[in-house]
Symmetry: C2
Subunit: 164 residues, 2 copies
């Protein structure tokens, strides 16, 4: 049976841009894919997700976790944002894949304290661990993005489309 | 400030095995990480998630999507299951990373029809597209798994721990 809706990539419009920007702005956690240093295999895990004052994706992660070790070794990564609610079909819920490179901002680095204050204003409970020696901020420089607005509604977006 | 709970990997126990098996059994969608053929970069996207009659992870995906093209090129992948609910802290919600290799089961292949019947019994609305020519089943042979039962509760599991 031929697929009547063969999911072509649609031309980017303002609805797609606003949907993608909203997903980034509202998301509190995400799936992060990295390359495992030992094998080169992909590995996906959950991270907290926030944004910098410049709207760039941001997380706070521990050196003890495998994804952090992987990003230290190779900053190439991919982030999936846009979690479905508890009702409805998860595959029709909009989601956004961000292709990115990670940069660490550790305590003592330029901009760390401002980022810390900004992050804690959005995520107050991180106060419990933000100052642990093994935690660092990581911001993600996005190179491209794939928006899936539901079955057959696919878009390729640029950083400019995301307001970055 | 030293981290008072430096997240060591804990010894695997039956609670960890049951938690992981339950996450696989109950999950309806997941994040899939693959390697992009053009760049070798990781890429993460959302997939439907089910299991075979042997409890092996299973999905139904379209050749038109980037993750399918990537898996055809390189079957190494990683799957994150265990979605938080709408309440509570997503980072304390249990989740499981599965390191795996993908095998395609296309229409006409041995076992396809039984898998189709099994899949549709769990996911009736896939009837709408299961017979499209671009859709195929993919089962995932798991080599290892990382369970995160919440802050500082990390386990490394084997396929045997998962009942596979």
């Amino acid at each position: 049976m031929p697929n009547p809706d063969p999911s072509p990539i649609r031309p980017t419009d303002d609805d797609a841009r606003h949907l993608a920007q909203g997903l980034i702005r509202q998301t509190k956690y995400a799936a992060l894919a990295v390359l495992m240093p030992e094998t080169g295999a992909p590995m996906v895990s959950r991270i907290a997700f926030a944004t910098t004052p410049d709207r760039e994706p941001l997380t706070l992660i521990s050196d003890l976790s495998a994804h952090t070790k992987a990003l230290v070794h190779d900053p190439q990564c991919s982030i999936l944002v846009g979690e479905p609610g508890e009702r409805g079909d998860p595959l029709t819920h909009p989601r956004l894949t961000l292709q990115a490179r990670a940069t660490f901002i550790r305590k003592g680095a330029r901009g760390h304290d401002a980022l810390r204050a900004h992050y804690l204003s959005a995520t107050p409970k991180a106060t419990l661990y933000v100052d642990f020696a093994d935690f660092a901020f990581v911001r993600f420089a996005v190179s491209e993005a794939y928006l899936n607005g539901g079955f057959g509604k696919a878009f390729h977006l640029t950083p400019t489309d995301l307001g970055l």
